[in-house]
Symmetry: none
Subunit: 242 residues, 2 copies
């Protein structure tokens, strides 16, 4: 079922309620709504988590389910990624967030992303229960992602091909703006060349042809919109009116 | 120079010291080290920022420079992305973080990513000074990214392909031409605004502010070279000399 395809977020032995709340917010930013908790340190529900996850993110917490073990929390999940910063001695495929979420999107069943406790991260015992490892490529001299940030990056990668994305710019022209056609560019060039000629701009005369060519080339290169053309004609008209 | 290619992170009127510290951490996670601050609300240095950015991230704060305006903070920058969640009436290309950082990686000069204050985000006045907009695709029903998270996602996209990729040609600027930096663009905008003001261009008065903003935005968007800047100053000088 389509609705089953979003990955489940499993937080294993999370410590601070604030971090659970922040993780819920990060999930919802990218449309993820199913959270599962394994042995949260301070019990459940947790008022600090609720305080952090205001508004709609509160609903993610309301529907979160709590499990005594990771194995039980993987109910219904058939492909699980364990997030970990360190290399592991375990023989396991290692994905980047991008390749992991690409895999999750292409997966027919239910996938999960497992996050460890804030201080220590996942134990080998936990990682051994996942199909694969996912590691965020960070600066090796400062690999300090917190729990909510790790959730955010996975959510971002999950959402990157689902959410409405900004239209791709063609050249430098913004979507919705109409490019000037070549005739309009030509006329703009004519207009400037004429008025600048009258004003003595192309001086000395020996340099005139190169200056004209250069100017012509500039107008052609700037990927002007129709609006720009009007503004540039308007500027010239205003400056040369007597 | 290779070392010059990392984008500068510019925080405009940041409010909470904690958020500046968290942004420094997010930057360093992905190897970004140059932060610039425009009018930080609580002055600078800020002990709360320092408390948040422990260890190596403290060095990012130590070397952060403070500027009185965004225009001045763009010193040496020749391509700037403005991060904004809302659609804008400004005519400007819109990138996703992925396409923006792909562009930044392929860019020969210095790029910058501009972030607004926590509550309100960037003003149109700020956005008008950037070449392009970058928007994170988030859940439209819960688009609640905080400042450090926005920085984190941009850093993540910057870092994701440190492996050699085919360089993207940037803009339409010809090989061998030097991009104008943002200060040069700013001065060009000032020059035109002044002379066009004298000539009565911004008429009627009620439309003046929108016309000025639109013009400012046009100069920022055109990927002008140093040569273009000289030509455009020269045109204006010639047309307004008596």
């Amino acid at each position: 079922m389509e609705s089953n395809r979003q990955p489940v977020i499993i937080l294993v032995r999370p410590q601070m309620g604030e971090n659970i709340g922040a993780a819920a917010r990060a999930m919802l930013n990218f449309g993820l709504t199913e959270m599962r908790l394994v042995e949260p340190r301070d019990g459940w529900p947790n008022p600090r988590a609720v305080a952090m996850a205001s508004g709609a993110a509160g609903k993610v917490l309301d529907s979160a389910r709590v499990y005594p073990t990771l194995a039980l929390a993987m109910e219904g999940v058939d492909y699980a990624f364990a997030t970990t910063a360190r290399g592991r001695e375990l023989t396991k495929p290692v994905f980047t967030p991008a390749t992991a979420m690409e895999k999750a999107r292409g997966h027919d069943g239910r996938s999960a992303i497992i996050f460890g406790p804030e201080r220590a991260g996942l134990e080998n015992e936990d990682v051994a229960r996942a199909n694969a490892i996912v590691t965020v490529p960070v600066n090796p001299d400062f690999p300090s992602l917190n729990l909510a940030q790790a959730v955010l990056l996975m959510g971002y990668e999950w959402g990157r091909e689902q959410l409405p994305t900004a239209p791709q710019p063609i050249g430098r022209r913004p979507a919705g703006e109409v490019a000037a056609d070549r005739i309009e560019i030509e006329k703009l060039g004519d207009h400037y060349e004429e008025k600048l000629g009258d004003a003595g701009f192309f001086f000395p005369e020996t340099k005139g042809p190169a200056m004209r060519l250069n100017l012509r080339n500039m107008w052609s290169r700037l990927d002007l919109t129709r609006g720009d053309i009007q503004v540039l004609h308007g500027i010239l008209r205003q400056l040369t009116r007597r």
